[in-house]
């Protein structure tokens, strides 16, 4: 992000309270995003820690986006798509399932707490399931605490 614009910036920093975990949710626009909308429509309340990034299909969510989010400091990542067989592109979520079945093993193997990465199938009609998924994910990520993978130790460049 190009920082030199901040001279002009009138940034009334509303510092988010540090211990509030921040989670990115990659939602496929056909099912999960619509399910989240339905949760809104039916006024289902759920914690505000999850911010949605809309993708064309859950298969577009490259597992390396998930790593990039964790590397840049997010506390948790959720990837959600259509139920198998209901994908608008018919096969997208099958590929998502395989990609992340492998990638999550890699994440765990190098030492990322499993509580940080979640996947779910939420269809366009499952508003309350979306609210439920968010509640569970936020609780689990909070149990893992804030992401300190790269912030604790100052990188030495001797």
């Amino acid at each position: 992000m190009n920082d030199n614009r901040s001279v002009k910036e009138k940034n009334l920093e509303l510092k988010p309270s540090p211990e509030k975990v921040k989670i990115a949710a990659f939602l496929c626009k056909w099912c999960s995003y619509a399910g989240a909308d339905l949760a809104g429509g039916s006024r289902k309340k759920y914690p505000p820690n999850v911010i949605v990034i809309r993708t064309s299909c859950s298969a577009r969510t490259n597992p390396l986006f998930v790593w990039k989010s964790l590397e840049k400091g997010l506390d948790g990542v959720l990837v959600s798509g259509c139920h198998p067989g209901e994908c608008h592109y018919s096969e997208g979520n099958y590929h998502t399932r395989r990609n992340f079945a492998v990638f999550r093993k890699l994440l765990e193997y190098i030492g990322i707490e499993p509580e940080r990465f979640h996947m779910s199938w939420v269809s366009a009609a499952e508003g309350d399931k979306w609210a439920q998924v968010v509640k569970e994910v936020v609780k689990t990520v909070e149990s893992a605490g804030p992401n300190t993978y790269f912030s604790k130790k100052k990188e030495d460049n001797a």
Binding site: D3, N4, S6, V7, N157, A158
Partner: protein, 337 residues
Amino acid sequence: MKRLLKKEELNRLLLGLMKEYDVIAPIDEEGLILFRPVTKVEQVLWDYPNSLKPVKEFFLPPREVLFQFKRGKVQPANLSLKKRVIWGVRPCDARSLLLLDKVFLDSTQDVYYREKRKSTLLVGLSCNHPEKSCFCTSFASGPHHKEGMDLLIADLEEGIFLLESNSPEGEQLLKGRGKEVNKIDEKIRTKIKEKTERKIERKLKPSQFLERLTNGFDSSYWEKASRQCISCGICRYLCPTCHCFDIADEEGERVRFWDGCSFRNFTKMTSGENPRFGKRERFKQWYYHKFGYFKENHGVFLCVGCGRCLRNCPVKIDFSEVLQQLPAQAQTPAREG
């Protein structure tokens, strides 16, 4: 000034240094011989071939923050450095710094490099058991050369060491330590020196390199020689005299870090043009820069014969062979390889 010290006196010297300076010495880290800051004498290795990474890493670090920028303000990294001693430098590495000085301390001084050079003392350890891959003698250096060092320790076996200062600071360190050096010690020392030099069988004749390179530029010899190379960065990064680097902005910092002419995007321009796209051109560039252009510009080869490139090449390319077999005149293509 020359002094003779026993092993424990040498250790006391090392301990004294540790109080006053940050001492960096070769240690064994999970099987790798690396120069690392040390706090205890026991850590220091004494009989080791040569470190994996040359001491270049303490003057042109693998990654160095040039400056940081926050809110548009530029804050240069603080350059002042606590005085330090690099203990156990081999003669070839010490000499490599002199070569690097020609690049970084010329008319446009590199401040980062200069501060590090100014605040570092080099205490060398001569080699008694050179590697088969060493060939420092072919490049105006030798297992017992003291060029570029502040103090050189020569191991006369049986726990006795002959220390020879090579700079005022070196002399300062040596003052009032150990015994005078008499003729016999001198003779033992020269005997050991010649014995080690004889151990180095790998001899090259660098004199004709420049001439053969200049007229061998388009020879098809390079096609054959470069075929085996996989264009990785090991020989470039582990070579004490290779000094190419890249600059990039990373998360609020402008950093300088090692780069190698073996990589394809080293010379790739944003327009897509790339004068050295092929593996052959990139393979050649290493030889021409070290033994052609540097020699023409500075009158000395950019190589100290430490042998790291031979030891660590993944496909075991023997670069001294490549140079030896350089054809005298331009080669007609497709000769039997």
